[in-house]
């Protein structure tokens, strides 16, 4: 078996071959090495392996944008075709969307979700959390106070709730946070 080397496209003989395809003609297996353009023309929809670098280079613009977590720039990615870390996906999301669409014909995940991610999300979005009595959802008070007094009290209450909410989130007490947030919403709605 001969070693793999850089080959020119078998059809146009100009560009570098990036699509490798086997064709069986008269019982003989013929290897076809084509460039992206000729492969598409031949109706071969880029079977594996195709070069990520080429694809990325062809459909994205240069950019000096840099990922905070790993230091990778979008230009680095255009050269190597691999991202540097999970945060890169957030940093370069705009530019990545067209590449992802091109590869997968979709840009939205459907399928397994890690259970810890699932739970965090559930804690945040749960609408019907049973709130413990120490964080009662405030009912509109049957007002022994004047309207002004009651508003001042509500503002004070809102301030303290907002403080609680912040510390609940930073302590990752998401259930408590959800209750506090609901209570805040209701209170603010009555102002």
């Amino acid at each position: 078996m001969e070693p793999e080397e850089k080959k020119l496209c078998a059809i146009c003989k100009k560009k570098e071959a990036v699509v490798h395809y086997a064709e069986i003609l008269d019982g003989v297996i013929k290897k076809l090495d084509l460039c992206e353009t000729c492969a598409i023309e031949k109706g071969i929809e880029t079977p594996t392996p195709f070069s990520m670098g080429d694809l990325v280079g062809a459909i994205t613009e240069r950019s000096e944008e840099t990922c905070e977590q790993c230091g990778m720039t979008f230009d680095d990615f255009r050269k190597v075709g691999r991202l540097g870390c999970d945060l890169c996906y957030e940093t370069f999301q705009e530019s990545l969307l067209s590449i992802i669409e091109q590869i997968h014909r979709s840009t939205q995940h459907k399928g397994k979700i890690p259970s810890r991610f699932h739970e965090e999300k559930k804690k945040f979005t749960a609408k019907k959390v049973k709130c413990p009595p120490e964080y009662p959802v405030q009912q509109t008070p049957a007002a022994p106070f004047s309207q002004e007094d009651s508003d001042a009290m509500k503002l004070k209450k809102i301030q303290s709730l907002e403080q609680d909410l912040k510390s609940a989130i930073s302590a990752e007490e998401f259930e408590k946070a959800a209750c506090l947030r609901d209570e805040l919403k209701k209170l603010k709605g009555t102002l």
Binding site: D86, Y89, L96, I103, T107, H109, K112, I113
Partner: protein, 364 residues
Amino acid sequence: MKIQVLLKKTSEWLNGTGPESDLVLSSRIRIARNIKGFRFPGKATSEDKKKILSIVESVVSSSKSSMLKGSLFVHIHELDDVDRQFLVERHLISPELSNASTGSGVIISNKETISIMINEEDHLRIQVLHSGLQLKEVWKTIDELDTELEKTLDFAFSSKFGYLTACPTNLGTGIRASAMLHLPALVYSKQINKVLHATVKLGLAVRGLYGEGSEALGNLFQISNQASLGMNETEIIETLSKVVRQIIMYEKNQRRYLINNNLKEVEDRVWRAYGSLTTARIITSKETIGLLSTLRMGVDLGILESHLRKLVNELLILTQPANLQKNFDRKLNPTERDIERANLIRQKLVRNSKAGKESKEDEK
């Protein structure tokens, strides 16, 4: 070297059992996972990689899951070239991982059905391999394993892009599912081209198992999904299974046609292959793969005894350069290898001397 223990047993996926095992050698799924907050291996420092390696190793060794009991932990940089190649030939690591330096490793389960590659292109590449066509069962195993690991490992995930991977081609489910098919009749009758074209059109990838690029030595083809985002795991696996079933049907039709119309020609090929393998004194790995493919077809068509199937599967792996050298426990030059390969094949096949059904007929 500790990987020596693998030599003593046959990988379970070579058993030649499971649904459609006459045409489907194996079903494989691998998933890509990364740990939140760490740079991907290509951008990570060797300190980071060592840290990830030890985190994953400690998670696996402290897991109570029966799937991981008795696993073998291997650090790639501690292996010599032959050992690395040995693991590639047994489908336990990828060629990419075999070139890795410090900080990369693999965890191999007891029966060689599970391998967890650490710091390949992604932090984790989990692979499950079974014999025959059983992608659903493979998914069940790998899903369970993934759920077990994510109890302690915080995987990088976004609700939009799914599991975040170094290369955007693996984004979403992180799945690559594949089936390895033996399609001699389609190749023989020159129908394979049409079938492969149609497969590619359906969004699946095809490659030859052995040989450079997509050349298909031994009539072995690997069919796999391309897209990993936008469909869930079950949909991806079902699409692949459907297409594989269709290809199996074409191959079976073609085999029936061969038996009905060209039986003597097929028998001649099979027995000549058997003759070469049992008498050769020097044989290359390329020639071996081709002849083993013909032998396998002989078993499938009832020309040779069915107990040979497992042996043919085994020989496919054992006759490859690194497996051969591990068996001899020393480096062999290419000429020595071709001689020892011929010896090994003769030993194994002659021990199974009652190979054919026709030989009995001839004695009458």
